[in-house]
Amino acid sequence: MSKEQILSPLPGIFYRRASPESEEFKLQGDSVCVGDVIGLAEVMKSFHEIKSQVAGYSITFLVEDGDAIMPGQVLAELDG
């Protein structure tokens, strides 16, 4: 089975929730459509939604909530 990757478009801090009280955008194992928000990147006090450019099943996050991320880094993988 092929793996699709979701890459970070920017450098920053990765969050899986909109705010500490919110639900996670996606749980491990969720399906993802093109355009779905999978997390937020906080860059210098501004927040940017990270949307998936690919679709697939059973998302596996490769970074933790609050991790520093770099452009091009693989944030999550999907089963194609």
Binding site: P11, I13, V43, M44
Partner: protein, 451 residues
């Protein structure tokens, strides 16, 4: 003056700026730093540096107890909060004083009186300073907002009572928007500032942002003239100048009212009273007071010759104000350009990284306030301000000309910056003639700026 050692509870260019004034006074410095700032310029130049925690500000620069613990352990006399972080937090000011230390800034009660936007509006109204039409107290409900909107008309602004510095503001264009935005604005204010209260003000589009620099010693205040900060993007200042281009009569009125407001709050240290000046109706309105040193303070320093940070330290160390109003005169013209780590070609997306090479313009009247050095890492955790290019000249025309040259000489490689935006602005006919208002830059970016 009773201060011989200061802890700097901040980072970046302002930490460097504060250390320089301490050096000039012979005051020793203790710089606190997070993981991300271990190699920062402030850490290198301070007499001592102490690690206070992880990179996110909540775990380091915003940790009040840690900051105070380091201050006590290092036996400092005072804490300088800079701007942002803990600078306008009255509970922190109280905690510093309770620990037996000096807070370099106004008293907690002055911060409370002026920092909350609704109580500040009430105070200035009580002494006869005009405020924009709108709420006289916190909005109790959406229905009250709807009722008030019939008096102010649209567009109007919903503002977070605990907001400030351009944050927590929404422009509302009609009743439908008011009904849909109100709950969201309140929820956002609660999340961002821990206080969901809102108030409402008429939105004045064709206004200049004029602010008055104040120094006070708790008994008496003087002004250091005014600044025009009308060139803004998303309510964040981009370019500031002193003096402004308003008439001498209006300037005098605003400066006198700013003194009156600060004296009513027994203001101590450096502060800024912000106004909107409606260029159509020629009316001015009180906006807010910033109870801290501001990013754009250098333009006022350049035209008055007064080191504002040094004066803050002297006053908070127990000295009386060193100046009478008549001692302060405004000479020449100064402009500051904020150089941010943002990509003008990508809607000003902030972009941290490494400064690969750096060339800073030098010459008469040119100043560059910054924490940059070649090879330095700009971390993603804090704001995007990299430095401030400040130029002084005898006239505004000469200042713009020198600024244009200085911007061309400023070379900063490795990450995108707003230098290119300023290079375009300094050549724009409206900017050259000083013909702009607070909505100008956003319109200009859409219509004039080749991205």
């Amino acid at each position: 003056m009773s201060i011989s050692k200061v802890l700097i509870a901040n980072r970046g260019e302002i930490a460097v700026r504060i250390i320089r004034s301490c050096e000039a006074l012979g005051v020793r410095t203790v710089q606190v730093y997070s993981d991300a700032d271990v190699d920062s310029l402030a850490v290198k130049i301070a007499d001592k540096a102490v690690h206070i925690g992880a990179s996110p500000a909540a775990k380091s620069y915003l940790d009040q107890q840690k900051v105070i613990d380091v201050a006590l352990a290092e036996d400092v006399d005072a804490i300088h909060p800079g701007y942002g972080f803990l600078a306008e937090n009255p509970d922190f000011a109280d905690a510093v004083v309770s620990a037996g230390l000096i807070f370099i800034g106004p008293s907690a009660s002055s911060i409370r009186m002026l920092g909350n936007k609704v109580s500040a509006r009430a105070l200035v109204q009580s002494i006869g300073v005009p405020t924009a039409p709108g709420s006289s107290s916190i909005l109790k409900s959406l229905e009250e907002a709807v009722e008030l909107s019939e008096e102010t008309g649209y567009p109007l602004m919903l503002k977070a009572s605990a907001g400030g510095g351009g944050r927590g503001i929404r422009v509302i264009n009609d009743l439908l928007e008011l009904r849909s935005m109100y709950p969201q604005a309140s929820a956002e204010a609660k999340a961002a500032f821990g206080d969901g209260s809102l108030f409402l003000e008429k939105f004045i589009a064709e206004a200049r942002h004029i602010e008055v620099q104040i120094l006070g010693d708790g008994a008496r205040c003087v002004h250091l003239g005014e600044r025009d900060c009308s060139l803004q993007r998303r309510r964040q200042k981009v370019w500031e100048e002193a003096p402004s281009l308003i008439s001498p009569a209006v300037r005098d009125l605003l400066c006198q009212q700013a003194i009156k407001i600060c004296e009513a709050a027994s203001y101590k240290g450096a502060g800024t009273v912000e106004f909107l000046y409606d260029t159509v109706s020629e009316q001015h309105y009180f906006l807010e007071v910033n109870t801290r040193i501001q990013v754009e303070h250098p333009v006022s320093e350049m035209v008055t010759g007064i080191d504002i940070v040094k004066e803050m330290i002297l006053i908070c160390g127990g000295d009386s104000l060193a100046y009478q109003q008549a001692d302060i005169c405004i000479r020449g013209h100064a402009i500051e350009c904020r150089i941010n780590a943002e990509d003008p070609a990508k809607d000003f997306l902030p972009w941290p990284g490494v400064i690969e090479s750096l060339s800073i313009p030098e010459g008469e009247g040119i100043r560059f306030d910054s924490m940059l050095h070649e090879g330095c890492v700009v971390p993603p955790f804090y704001d995007s301000l990299l430095g401030k290019l400040i130029v002084w000249a005898p006239t505004r025309g000469e200042c713009l000309s020198t600024l244009g040259d200085a911007l061309m000489a400023l070379k900063l490689d490795g990450i995108p910056t707003t230098t290119s935006l300023h290079r375009a602005l300094v050549k724009d006919p409206h900017v050259l003639s000083g013909d702009f208002h607070i909505g100008f830059l956003e319109e200009w970016l859409l219509s004039q700026y080749p991205s």
